[in-house]
Subunit: 315 residues, 2 copies
């Protein structure tokens, strides 16, 4: 379930006017901006952008960028765009991340988004960057990591729930052999994880667990220096349980000395209209602390207010 | 340009009735079937199927299968289905081809179809076979051929016409080095050919030709035993000039002792509503024989009449 609280039929014209007023004069009224934008769903935000452009012949996104700054600006920017546009931008930033691409975002979107959602993001990516996503991923990566990430970014996966039990068994055996031989960059692992449907992969991983008494993740040693392996582990976590995965991203982002605002913003902004309520529950269960409290402790000012509003805090 | 000749507003009900009549009694009236179906476009054929089903509570496709036989039956079957369904079936047959998959169909569709057309076929494939195309390609291939074919079947390519001239130059140099080192299964070749937009690949290949005085195809030795290389060459031909490629498929199909009806039917049926007229022109230029005549010479009976009708022969 989502956390976003929004009225049913707000007036885009009134919202555009209120935003214009918030930009007016000395300083910006961030509180007013939050009280509107943090309580509108994606369609409503799109209508506000349109009304604002029509009424003031000015691009709302650009105006917000010039009015705001820091993590708050970044968060608002990620929130005000169309979701598929925003995700395309997040992917492009991840691909161009130095010194090496940030595989997390690529793996996260490729494995957790439905094939249709991912396709919408890929369309937006092409429109904006005049290249395909897979093309840019391939261009900016090398070696085993490239093989894996291109294979994640490319397919149009099957999203059906049917499971081939025999196949799950045979591919679990295949994975077992590969793990035994420590050939962890084996093309069959990549094939199974990147082309099979998520339901089929979960069946295969469960089979593996049943046969071995432990999950395959325990057999893939987490070595931060080995980005290929780290990406593979991330993918398995995402496929196995997206909410648990997001909880971990949030936990790491908040526990890091110096908070990882990019990761924090990404999860809140991309999940507020989807399953952030469930992620909050998983977070509480794991940390015995409410996600809102943890975020309030590690962030400040308008950025904090904005995230908490997206998390469902009533004004 | 297309070759198909069809009336603007035929009556699906009258067509369904005429087909029913053609099935009636002793023997089938193949001529009547051809006179209708070979002169209806994809939407019109769909409406006939629907009308027939509504009127006679019978699946027209199945009925046709039971009434007809041989190459004619196969051709009608490929023609009466929705194009994306037909292509999904053609791909599935190609993937399951023994002893090894028929890479031609996979490469042809992946490189010549627009990204949106290919996506429609992939959707139809999943609906029909409950697996993704890439999943099945990966499952039924091995080695370098697998790498190449999965990489063709997977991406959602960029279809825009923009060309990055600097990139074309640098990737042409890259290809040159790879050809010199005879490392023809190099991952960079696969990356360039399978992820770059067709316009970009053509620019790169032209660059290669300018630098080397010969096309890269001359440097990739055509070795029928090396299916990977054969598939790569097929792809380059498809991307460089689809019409020339189709001409060659037709020429080989017709010149073969024992005619390759599957290839012949595939090209006629998949291109009759697209660019078969242009392919005919290329064929005539290359062979000094009209395609219609060549086909008339190598085929017979209803199969012949049907193909010629699709090729634009007036009744």
């Amino acid at each position: 379930m989502a956390t976003l609280i929004f009225p049913e039929h707000p007036s885009p014209v009134a919202d555009a006017e209120a935003l214009k007023k918030a930009f007016h004069g000395w300083g910006t009224n961030e509180k007013a901006i939050i009280s509107i934008l943090a309580h509108r769903n994606a369609v409503q935000r799109k209508l506000i952008r349109k009304a604002y452009e029509d009424m003031y012949a000015e691009d709302l996104v650009k105006r917000l960028e010039s009015e705001l700054s820091g993590d708050f600006e970044k968060a608002i920017y990620r929130w005000i765009m169309d979701p598929e546009d925003r995700d395309a931008v997040l992917l492009n930033v991840a691909i161009k991340h130095k010194p090496t691409p940030d595989y997390r975002v690529i793996v996260e979107f490729s494995t957790i988004y439905s094939p249709e959602e991912l396709l919408a993001v890929k369309r937006a990516y092409q429109k904006r960057f005049k290249h395909s996503l897979e093309e840019d991923v391939a261009r900016h990566t090398t070696g085993d990591l490239r093989k894996l990430l291109v294979a994640f970014a490319s397919p149009y996966k099957y999203a059906g729930g049917e499971i081939d039990v025999k196949l799950a068994k045979s591919e679990a055996d295949m994975l077992e052999d590969i793990v035994k031989e420590k050939a962890l960059n084996h093309e069959e692992i990549i094939r199974i994880i990147t082309t099979r449907s998520n339901a089929q992969i979960v069946a295969t991983l469960n089979n593996y667990k049943d046969n071995n008494g432990t999950a395959i993740t325990k057999h893939l040693k987490d070595d931060p220096a080995n980005e290929y392996l780290a990406a593979l582990l991330t993918a398995i976590r995402c496929i196995n349980d997206p909410r648990k995965y997001y909880e971990k991203v949030l936990r790491n982002a908040l526990n890091k000395s110096g908070t990882d605002e990019d990761a924090l913003t990404r999860v809140i902004v991309t999940r507020a209209e989807k399953d952030l309520k469930d992620i909050k529950e998983v977070y509480y269960k794991r940390n015995s602390v409410a996600l809102d409290h943890a975020i309030a402790k590690e962030t400040s000012s308008h950025y904090k207010s904005f995230l908490l509003a997206l998390l469902g805090k009533e004004d």
